[in-house]
């Protein structure tokens, strides 16, 4: 079971801060696709363009492997000021 967390704006937009995924998933890209299939907002806000990912609190790329019991966090990049 993979624990998925959403932070900051994503938590508000998706209406949830945490969920669990039971399906077998190999990497970040696959998890992203699975979550994006949940609906229009999910698809838009969890795209690689709009959401950064951390696996077990370390910022990860699309090929980063994910295994059972991993914690995967999605959060938006910030560049304004």
């Amino acid at each position: 079971m993979i624990k998925v967390l959403f932070f900051a704006q994503l938590k508000d937009v998706l209406g949830t801060g945490q969920l669990e995924i039971d399906e077998p998933i190999n990497d970040v890209a696959a998890l992203r696709r699975t979550l994006q299939a949940r609906g229009e907002l999910w698809s838009e806000y969890l795209s690689a363009q709009r959401a950064l990912v951390a696996v077990n609190q370390t910022i990860a790329h699309e090929d980063t492997r994910i295994g059972p019991n991993d914690e995967v966090a999605f959060f938006p990049p910030v560049t304004g000021g």
Partner: protein
């Protein structure tokens, strides 16, 4: 940290900064390091106003501000060095006036036209540390490249909506660089103009940048290197994520001979 003459604290300065000098581990040495420090700050908007205010109040010796923008009414909600009387003035000039009344001891230089890349190189090389208080990805990436090339620490702050982000990049510590983080950012490059920003959020991040600068200049405490701190102002929560060096990074990557 620089080739300029080493100043020692006067009695008056030691009194003025005694609440900092009292901090165990900071001491007179820390305060003197600040007095001799040269800080380059790019941007005098929301982040920059907060950062510069604390840098100057805390007794930094020399501060160079770079911004070509002028003060608009919509800036006043969060850019706290500019007043109603400053509308239409250059932000650098307005900020310098406020900062000088806060601490006339600090040598403040201003640069009010957009810097060319060679000018930016020169400014970075002449300072000990650089604060990125800009509002766009392109400038942030350029600043990172120039800082890395000149082996200068870069403190990057960003804020939008109800969110903030801060991280320090220190070439001498072989940390990841800003590009190791920004390579994950998509094309979207939202600014506070279209997305909005809550006033204190940008101030909190700017104040954190000043704190990071003080830490890195004095060796006091632990800086935010190889990690990214994310602030969720809706819930008043902070998250820390570790950031790894990208071996193929065009700026700092080990596979590129850096």
């Amino acid at each position: 940290m620089n080739e300029h003459e080493n100043r020692t604290l006067s009695q008056q300065q030691a009194l003025r900064y005694c609440r900092q000098i009292l901090l165990p581990g900071f001491d007179l040495d820390g305060q003197e390091a600040l007095l001799n420090a040269r800080v380059l700050q790019i941007g005098v908007g929301g982040l920059g106003c907060a950062a510069a205010q604390y840098l100057v109040a805390s007794g930094i010796g020399n501060l160079t501000l770079v911004d070509d923008d002028t003060v608009a009414l919509t800036n006043l909600q969060r850019q706290i060095l500019h007043t109603e009387q400053d509308l239409g003035k250059l932000k650098c000039e307005s900020a310098k006036q406020s900062l000088t009344s806060l601490n006339s001891d600090v040598d403040i230089q201003i640069h009010t036209v957009r810097m060319s890349e060679p000018e930016l190189e020169q400014a970075v090389a002449a300072n000990d540390i650089v604060l990125d208080c800009t509002d766009n990805l392109e400038t942030r990436n350029l600043l990172n490249t120039v800082c890395w090339k000149n082996q200068k620490a870069l403190i990057s702050g960003a804020a939008i909506r109800m969110e903030g982000q801060i991280s320090s990049f220190v070439p001498q510590h072989h940390t990841p660089c800003y590009q190791c983080l920004s390579r994950f950012f998509g094309e979207q490059n939202l600014s506070c103009v279209e997305s909005g920003i809550m006033s204190p959020v940008v101030g909190i991040i700017g104040a954190m940048q000043a704190l990071e600068a003080i830490k890195l200049l004095t060796g006091f405490g632990e800086p935010l290197t190889a990690k990214v701190l994310l602030f969720d102002a809706i819930r008043s929560e902070w998250q820390t994520f570790a950031l790894q060096k990208d071996p193929q990074c065009p700026v700092c990557g080990t596979e590129n001979g850096h």
